[in-house]
């Protein structure tokens, strides 16, 4: 028995009837979403605390405020985004109406992960709604408590004929992916990204894949170690390291490593106190499986800071590893935890080569006082989804920047207007007049060099030395 067919059918019919088309409808849904966040704020914070031991600060910053900001942006700009976009015409189409029409795709599937379970399901949803689609949401079953609220409460704030929240683990998700959707938006691992795209290929469904990778963080010798340590530590240990754009590992010279390690220790102590486990600001690992995985990584290299772990509450101390070899497990997979390995390199060139030998990451970081020589160099000689110089993932919070990966870290992007564009089909429209047929007859057979000359003129093809003429 396929649990999804009926729901999908309902969504398809609602879309076909045109229910999601009007700006009023879309705005109403977005407002409903906003109300959901306000009215269930406490429950959501509670759920995030239970799932990830996410502090109120982190929840506010990385889940609630961001979602509100996206909703507000969409509400403010909805009509402008929906407008037909006029395009420049050439001589032949001078009297015509030429524009790009933004149309919804139809029924969109959004699959979200567990690390920012609210943000990563709602922000894409905002774009999909704004673009006029019907949406099936598949929150992560791993962040159980948040999933529960999304399944039970969220549908009450949206038109249920057009939006549905479904449950399931890997097996159910596999079943879900056998169905035909008009767009699939997936946030998760590279491994599953391939499965999603392969499933989408069966139906020629376009996709946006927000995946991951190992985000390198190059630290130049010319910098203030404490400032760098503060910034790197903040973004590494935020959400207990379970962030797709967190700095994954540091590349620096041995001399820099000597200065960085004590600075990182100082930052960690300042942020989380002498006993980080007692700090309310440090999260926990989502599941036993990931806890065990991360605990295993603590054996790589040498522990310079932290290294403690406690199974009962899935606690892993903010850790810095040194003397790490490229071949060790901690350098083979995306860490996704509060462990920061430092790999030493002898020069900027070596760092760039190291980075370019590997898969394109989702984010890339470079720290240096010498902006032109170092930061811009690293930027110019590498590729990554996004880049931030002298800070962590601040580029995420600006809705005017597209957020997405490249290569193994993903394809497509979203946030702000980019979300709206992602979930819209850009339809080329040319409306001509039935008259003026004499003008167009130059294109009809029988052909002659003369008609060709006129055609070339109309299409504004310059400097043509066509031998046929």
């Amino acid at each position: 028995m396929d649990p999804f067919e009926d729901t999908l059918q309902r969504l398809r019919e609602a879309f076909r009837e045109g229910r999601t088309r009007s700006a009023e409808f879309r705005a109403a849904q977005l407002k409903g979403l906003d109300r959901f966040l306000r009215e269930h704020k406490q429950q959501l914070q509670e759920a995030l605390l239970q799932d990830l031991r996410k502090s109120a600060f982190e929840a506010e910053l990385s889940e609630l405020s961001i979602s509100h900001a996206e909703i507000n942006l969409a509400l403010r700009n909805l009509r402008a985004w929906m407008k037909d976009e006029k395009v420049p015409r050439n001589l032949a189409t001078q009297l015509d109406s030429a524009f790009v029409r933004k149309e919804p795709f139809g029924v969109v599937l959004i699959i979200a992960p567990w690390n920012y379970p609210l943000n990563l399901i709602l922000v894409p949803l905002v774009g999909a709604i704004a673009a006029g689609n019907c949406v099936m949401l598949k929150p992560s079953e791993v962040s159980k408590n948040t999933e529960k609220i999304l399944v039970e409460m969220l549908p009450r704030y949206l038109d249920r004929s057009c939006f549905a929240v479904v449950l399931g683990g890997p097996e159910e998700t596999g079943q879900l992916l056998e169905h035909k959707f008009d767009y699939i938006f997936f946030t998760g691992s590279t491994r599953v990204g391939k499965i999603v795209m392969a499933a989408a290929a069966q139906h020629l469904t376009p996709v946006t894949l927000e995946l991951g990778g190992k985000n390198p963080c190059y630290v130049d010798d010319d910098c203030d170690p404490q400032t760098v340590a503060n910034r790197v530590a903040l973004f590494r240990y935020f959400n207990a390291g379970q962030t797709c754009v967190a700095p994954d590992y540091v590349l620096c010279s041995p001399a820099m490593q000597e200065r960085l390690v004590p600075a990182l220790q100082a930052a960690i102590t300042r942020f989380y106190g002498e006993d980080p486990r007692a700090s309310p600001d440090l999260g926990r690992i989502i599941s036993d499986k990931h806890f065990q995985r991360l605990r295993g990584l603590l054996g790589c290299g040498r522990v310079a800071v932290g290294g403690q772990s406690e199974e009962s509450d899935r606690y892993i101390a903010p850790t810095v590893l040194v003397d790490v070899q490229e071949t060790e497990p901690v350098m083979q997979e995306e860490i996704f935890g509060p462990i920061l390995p430092i790999v030493t390199v002898s020069s900027l060139d070596e760092a760039v080569d190291f980075i370019n030998r590997r898969e394109k990451p989702l984010a890339l970081y470079a720290f240096s006082r010498r902006s032109q020589q170092v930061v811009k160099q690293v930027l110019a000689r590498t590729s990554s989804g996004g880049f931030c110089g002298n800070d962590g993932f601040m580029h995420l919070i600006l809705a005017s920047l597209p957020f997405g990966g490249v290569g193994a870290s993903g394809m497509g992007s979203y946030h702000g207007k980019f979300s709206f564009d992602t979930f819209s089909h850009h339809r080329a429209c040319l409306l001509r007049r039935p008259g003026l047929e004499k003008m167009y007859s130059v294109r009809y057979p029988p052909y002659s060099p003369r008609s060709l000359r006129v055609l070339l003129l109309a299409m504004e093809t310059r400097g043509c030395s066509c031998t046929l003429l």
Binding site: G18, S55, A56, F57, E58, S65, I66, V87, R89, N90, T93, R101, E103, K194, M197, A201, Q202, L204, Y272, G273, P280, L282, F367, R369, G386, F387, C388, N390, D391, H395, I397, L398, S400, L401, P402, V406, G407, A408, M411, A428, C429, L430, L431, R432, R433, P434, G435, E437, R443, P446, Y447, S448, P449, L452, L455, L456, T461, R462, T467, L468
Partner: protein, 485 residues
């Protein structure tokens, strides 16, 4: 195949294809190729599709010259980083989006417009700074050969390589890893390409096909409509992905439409169509036989003649076509034009929406409201109203499909964007660390409130307001520092 792709990848890694001057140089060389070797190119196309050289020129070469000129003119603007709107927290920073090449691009061409369907994407891929592997369709043999011969003579041989071959070679090629694949062809093969791309997480642009409907309203200039439809339908002997595939109209219009198209065909190709230099032939025997089978059991209003020896099929119109018959089940891609009678525009809309989204939608009517309604109530890759094909020719419009007619788009700047990664960049300075105190743990409710303020507050009008807020931010940070001690 692996070594070939590796060589191209190494060439890309050398960084040679990135500087603007290099890209311009290659594009200018491409332009020279088209101009200097025009004769050879036209001869190849003509041989593949039994097309007159004039037709080959206007169908393919014009578009390429227009495209390369546009790109050469606009490229300096396209490659520059675009600064974006900042917020309070990033006010002092450099924030922009930088277009970057993806790496090694694979372009797979089709046989119906064998030259332009390789060259137009190639122009975009080069403009975006990539290395390119080109796989022309083996069915248009002569063009495939000429591309393999000419491209290395004008372009950098390591960065841009032509690979020829059939299904076997293409399958081998698809096993390799690329940074983008642009494929033009059938829906069935489109799925295979995307499935192969999924293994490497390669983004794809698929220019596929479908049955492009053409609705003729009773309130329209039928003479003009029929002439334009006939032009778009029978050009290249119907072998055009955006040709009007079938007509939808009220039953009373059928006989008039038939008559007018018949007259137009005579006007275009003369009494003896077979002798007209402007009428092409079917690409091969397999398609020829396929097309003839579509005529079985149909009411042929005119046309229907064929000659296997030359793969000639006359411009044909079918009337009272049953939607369940074969001719309405697959993309025709030939000079057969079925007319399916419908009661009215509503029925036409439902008919169209019951089927896969087509690559193009055509509607002929004097009534603007009706035209808008048809567009609003349906979906398709693109639309031309009161004409056919023409939306393809405006490079400021994206050319691509939706649903089973494809994904992604190209032409003009859309090509450049398709083959680029738009990389967001935020450059801060290491100074001003004290202002950052707000965001570091240990956290407190007041910090939460301040965070909300900075995140949710709009960029207020007036620089003075901004300055005030910035000062407030620093003051708050300093206060926190003081309070800590």
């Amino acid at each position: 195949m692996e070594r070939l792709v590796q060589r191209v990848r190494d060439a890309f890694r050398s960084g040679r294809s990135r500087p603007l001057s290099f890209r311009r140089q290659q594009l200018e060389a491409l332009r020279r190729l088209v101009q200097e070797r025009e004769r050879d190119i036209l001869a190849a196309i003509a041989a593949d599709l039994s097309k007159s050289e004039l037709n080959a020129y206007s169908h393919e070469v014009i578009t390429i010259l227009g495209e390369v000129d546009l790109v050469l003119e606009q490229l300096p603007e396209w490659v520059t980083a675009k600064p974006v709107k900042k917020n309070l927290l990033t006010m002092m920073d450099e924030v922009y989006v930088q277009p970057e090449p993806l790496g090694v691009v694979l372009i797979i061409g089709a046989w119906n417009y064998p030259f332009v369907l390789i060259m137009q994407p190639l122009i975009g891929a080069i403009a975006a700074g990539n290395a390119v592997i080109i796989k022309p369709s083996e069915l248009s043999e002569n063009t495939a050969k000429i591309l393999a011969k000419l491209l290395p003579q004008y372009l950098d041989q390591d960065l841009y390589t032509v690979v020829n071959g059939g299904v076997e070679e293409t399958t081998e090629l698809l096993k390799q890893r690329f940074d983008h694949i642009l494929y033009t062809g059938s829906t069935a093969v489109g799925k295979i390409v995307m499935a192969a791309a999924a293994k490497h997480l390669t983004p794809v642009t698929l220019e596929l096909g479908g049955k492009s409907p053409c609705y003729i309203d009773r309130d329209c200039d039928l003479d003009v409509a029929c002439r334009r439809i006939a032009w778009g339908k029978y050009m290249n002997c119907g072998q055009t992905c955006i040709a009007p595939d079938y007509i939808l109209c009220e039953p009373s219009l059928q006989s008039q439409i038939v008559q007018k198209i018949k007259e137009t065909v005579k006007e275009f190709y003369g009494e003896n169509i077979k002798e007209s230099p402007d009428y092409e032939r079917i690409i091969n025997l397999r398609h020829f036989k396929r097309l003839l089978s579509l005529l079985e059991g149909q009411k042929i209003a005119f046309g229907g003649e064929s000659d296997e020896a030359t793969r000639y099929i006359a411009p044909t119109v079918l009337t009272d076509v049953d939607p369940e018959t074969k001719v309405m089940q697959e993309e025709i891609f030939g000079p057969i034009l079925p007319i399916v009678p419908v009661k009215n525009a509503d029925e036409a809309i439902e008919f169209i929406n019951d089927r896969e989204k087509p690559l193009a939608l055509y509607v002929f009517s004097r009534n603007n409201k009706l035209v808008r309604r048809m567009i609003d109530s349906t979906s398709s890759g693109g639309v031309t109203a009161n004409d056919v094909i023409m939306h393809f020719t405006l490079s400021s419009l994206p050319f691509g499909g939706v649903g089973s007619s494809g994904m992604g788009a190209y032409h003009g700047k859309y090509s450049f964007d398709t083959f680029s990664h738009q990389r967001p960049c935020l450059l801060k300075s290491l100074k001003g660390e004290s202002a950052n105190k707000l965001r570091y743990p240990p956290n407190s409710q007041s910090k939460v409130d301040w965070a909300k303020f900075f995140l949710l507050k709009k960029f207020s009008k007036g620089k003075l307001g901004l300055l005030l807020l910035a000062i407030l931010g620093v003051v708050a940070a300093v206060l926190f520092k003081v309070l800590d001690y």
